[in-house]
């Protein structure tokens, strides 16, 4: 495999292809006929996914720095580059994106009946934005892609969504925009502070900032990413967006868009502002918000009558585990956070797909309208149970690995937070299992449910890969962990090495980051 990839000079073109092929696909979809639009879109997304699979073999963890780097000048007067790179953190995000995009498109064949060309081209456009965000190693470029994801999602929710779709779409857009525009000002501040006239990732790493400056700038970045994650109390847009979005929109939103927030913390906010990230006040606030998010969201989820809203709140809880894992600043915590991100992408994506299938069959999402589905659709029920258990974090599923590692990493430093957060796992069973029971088991007392159709072959094809991943990651996570470890160690080193001035006199500027030792990817 490796030789084959080397023979095609895979490393030279793959990152560009992953970003721009979906855009070409979007253009193709617009040009194709109404009936063929979905097949064209699916074809392109499968092509992109197939190409992206090669990353798994082509990426060599090595020292954890950026691989497959390429850099070109984009806007010369401002020192903006079109620079891409891949490391052990972004590789998983990219693979998750290409996989879920293809599955979400396949899963929307029956759901989306109007304006198909517009829908599928927006889905592919969204993929361009997301993949570009994960691969950008230029801060300006990253910002452009970050914002670029908003527009397609706004229209996907607003045009194909439910009753209150416009409210949800605008809320989603404005919440994200508030954070990102303030982050833009912060980016400019670092740009001038670094005094290199460049927006390259490395230039930003080496900007000398006092603790006071770092705290302000960190706040701006944390607001942008915190809204995106979403961290309690900025989560209120999420249930609205999830409930109103069409199934494929919810899948992409949960699987990929939320990860942009946590990825942003790991990639940008922490390494850029190490002193702020280690500041006791910041750490305690972030950990507390993470823990509150886990417990609060679990309780709120438990009382939702709408299955989709319930799952939306579980997203908030799961992302809480990621937040505490990241801010514990231990290797276990970071690895756990990463695995939760992947696992949540897979399991929650699958849950939304399953709910979408339920909605297509019964045109309702209220839990009480179902009951006894397990008897009429055993395959569906099996998939549902496995996914729900993975979402709860049962040992042997992906959810367990992630949450366990995140809790372990947090416990090393902050045992009380870890213990409180661990209660969230119990609550997860408390909200998820009754839903499973009321939908799948109980009595088959509603005549409409007797006609509940079994999974079609297309639906099996959608769910199959996700179920396989849940089990595979749960049983054998080592290939993932060993690929992400070096890069996460680099992040830890950047944060802790750069944190010499933490707690010191705020006027004294920070010592240069240890990150200076890290090889310049542009070399």
């Amino acid at each position: 495999m490796t030789e084959l990839l080397a023979a095609t000079r895979y490393e030279d073109w793959i990152l560009h292809a992953l970003i721009w092929l979906p855009l070409a696909g979007a253009a193709h979809v617009v040009a194709s006929s109404r009936e063929r639009a979905k097949l064209v879109a699916f074809g392109w997304s499968v092509l992109v996914f197939g190409l992206s699979l090669g990353l798994w073999w082509a990426y060599d963890p090595g020292d954890g720095g950026f691989a497959m780097v390429s850099s070109a000048t984009w806007i010369e007067p401002w020192g903006v580059g079109y620079s891409l790179g891949l490391d052990g953190i972004s590789i998983f995000m990219v693979l998750l994106t290409t996989l879920t995009s293809a599955l979400a498109i396949l899963g929307s064949f029956e759901y989306v009946k109007t304006r198909r060309r517009a829908f599928y081209s927006l889905m592919l456009l969204l993929q361009t934005g997301v993949v570009g965000f994960f691969l950008a190693t230029d801060v300006f470029l990253f910002y452009v892609f970050f914002e670029l994801t908003l527009v397609p999602m706004y229209f996907i929710v607003g045009i194909w969504g439910g009753e209150r779709r416009i409210y949800a779409a605008v809320k989603f857009f404005l919440y994200t925009a508030v954070g990102s525009l303030l982050m833009l000002v912060a980016i400019l501040y670092v740009y001038f502070a670094s005094d290199t006239g460049s927006f390259a990732y490395d230039a930003f790493l080496h900007a000398e900032l006092s603790l006071r400056e770092q705290l302000w700038l960190f706040a701006a970045f944390a607001l942008a990413f915190g809204i995106k994650v979403p961290i309690f109390p900025f989560h209120t847009w999420l249930p609205d967006a999830h409930v109103e979005a069409p199934t494929p929109g919810s899948v992409i939103l949960a699987s990929v868009l939320l990860k942009m927030g946590t990825y942003g913390f790991v990639r940008f906010a922490l390494p850029f502002f190490p002193d702020a990230a280690q500041h006791p006040a910041v750490v305690s606030v972030m950990l507390a918000l993470g823990v509150v998010g886990i417990i609060y969201a679990a309780w709120v989820a438990a009382v939702q009558p709408d299955a989709k809203k319930l799952v939306a709140y579980t997203s908030v809880a799961h992302m809480g585990f990621v937040v505490i894992g990241i801010f514990a600043l231990t290797l276990n915590g970071l690895q756990g956070g990463m695995v939760v991100m992947i696992s949540h992408g897979v399991s929650t994506g699958a849950l939304f797909l399953l709910l979408g299938m339920m909605y297509e069959r019964r045109h309702t999402r209220r839990i009480e309208d179902f009951g006894g589905i397990g008897r009429v659709a055993p395959l569906f029920a099996t998939a549902f149970v496995v996914t729900a258990l993975a979402s709860i974090g049962l040992p042997g599923t992906s959810g367990f690995v992630g949450e366990f590692l995140a809790l372990l990493g947090t416990f090393e430093r902050y045992p009380i937070h870890a213990i409180l957060a661990a209660s969230g796992v119990v609550f997860a069973a408390y909200y998820m299992l009754p839903m499973v029971q009321r939908i799948l088991f109980n009595k088959l007392d509603k005549p409409e449910n007797r006609a509940f159709a079994e999974l079609s072959r297309r639906e099996i094809a959608v769910l199959g890969p996700l179920l396989a991943l849940m089990i595979w990651i749960g049983v054998h996570p080592t290939p993932l962990l060993e690929r992400m470890e070096p890069s996460l160690l680099v992040v830890l080193e950047q944060v802790e090495g750069g944190g010499a001035a933490a707690g010191a006199d705020p006027i004294v500027s920070a010592a240069p980051s240890i990150g200076a030792e890290w090889g310049n990817p542009a070399d």
């Binding site: 910002y143 452009v144 303030l182 740009y191």
Partner: protein
Amino acid sequence: MLLDYSSSLHYVLALLPEAVLAVFGMWVLLAGVSRRRSGGLGKETGWLALAGLLVAGVANGWLYSGVAEGGTAAMIAVDRLRLFANWVFILGAGFAIVIALPYVARQRLQAGEYYSLVLFATVGMMVMAASRDLMLIFLGLELMSIAVYALAGYNRRDRRSAEAGLKYFLLGAFASAFLLFGIALLYGAAGSTNLHAISEALSAGAAVEGLLGPGLALLTIGLAFKVSAVPFHMWTPDVYEGAPTPATAFMAAAVKAGAFVVLLRIFATGLDALHADWSGILWWVSALTMVFGNLVALVQSSVKRMLAYSSIAHGGYLLVAIVAANETAAAGLLFYLLVYTVMTIAAFAVVVSVGNQGESGNRIEDYQGLGARRPVLSICMTIVLLALAGFPGTAGFIAKYHLLLGAAEASLWKLAVILALTTVVSYWYYLRVAWYMWMRDAPAEGRPTGYVITPFATRVALVVSVALLVLAGIFPGAALEMAENAIRGIMYVAPQAGAAGL
């Protein structure tokens, strides 16, 4: 060739684009009169006016590419700042005429006079941008203003248009008086109306202190009126709403651009030594303009009026560049004006189309379900709205980012944050048009939906502007470089803004 004004021919050459355009203005006027006798609709006069703009553009290109000037103190500037601004004016006037063609014909307005007024107003702007002397600036400003007063009240049969014309004229005349009084006091203080001489007198400390303050204040008020900065913006929404839509487009885009170029010329080159005195006032004017313009735009139910308030808000963003007063900000201002002109006129092109080439479809409800009825028009409008909102992928983002860069270089962090937050506010009202177009179904039976009339010329103009906006949003290099060249060496002294820090 080198223009050193050693012979009188040099004066003619230095003012060649203006002279050409003025001649065309009179020609169009005469052609209009003879056409009306023969009973035509007068579209030919519009094309003639466009030809005039083209010739003026060629003359401008000649000055741009092959002419140098003898010094930096002459009354008429032949510098890149002026010539870049001329491109913006010519572009703005050209687009405004293209979208006016069907409107003027359909509303049976007198065509020849309309287009010649547009040309004369453009000449006025070009004179303003070309002058390094306060008197000449005033001359250009009045030439522009009087033509625009007439354009605002051009549709005599429409009460709101007449009201707009009268309101604009009375308040505008008042503002001109302020401006003239300010110029007089500055002359008294510095002993000259030449900006270069004023700048030198100020930095040498030779100015009369007592007259400077009032002069500066009156001058600022007069100019703030022209750029419709808060609190001198009251006329803008009524005038913009009442005037015929193509005239509104011209006012919102080109007239505003002209006023800002003059503002930059006066404050950044003539009164640069007083930066500490005026930057504080303009800081507040800018902040208030951004906040007020955006907040009031939120509640507008007419798209035309919403765009009027949004143009006030854009003025606020542009004022940030004046306050920052460094080369980055000034280049940003020019780039923004270029982009702003294109996107404003494109937005109004859609408004004219949805308004049935009249004033009948300007409410936001008239945009309901437009996406299904007119997909291409709606896609264009969506992109233009995203550009107006300053969204990445469009030139609007690059332009707004450029302003932020200038503000950041001057350490104006609070102003930068206000700009960022008010931009979020603006997302709401721009997105609102988008959601009416795409996310609501067309109104059911019982509510007549008017025709949407988009003639071929308007379509071409719209598609060209959208293409420009996207292209400059992705590859802004060439235009950025032009804007930077236009600014290089303009400012006599680069003012040092206080490093505020966080």
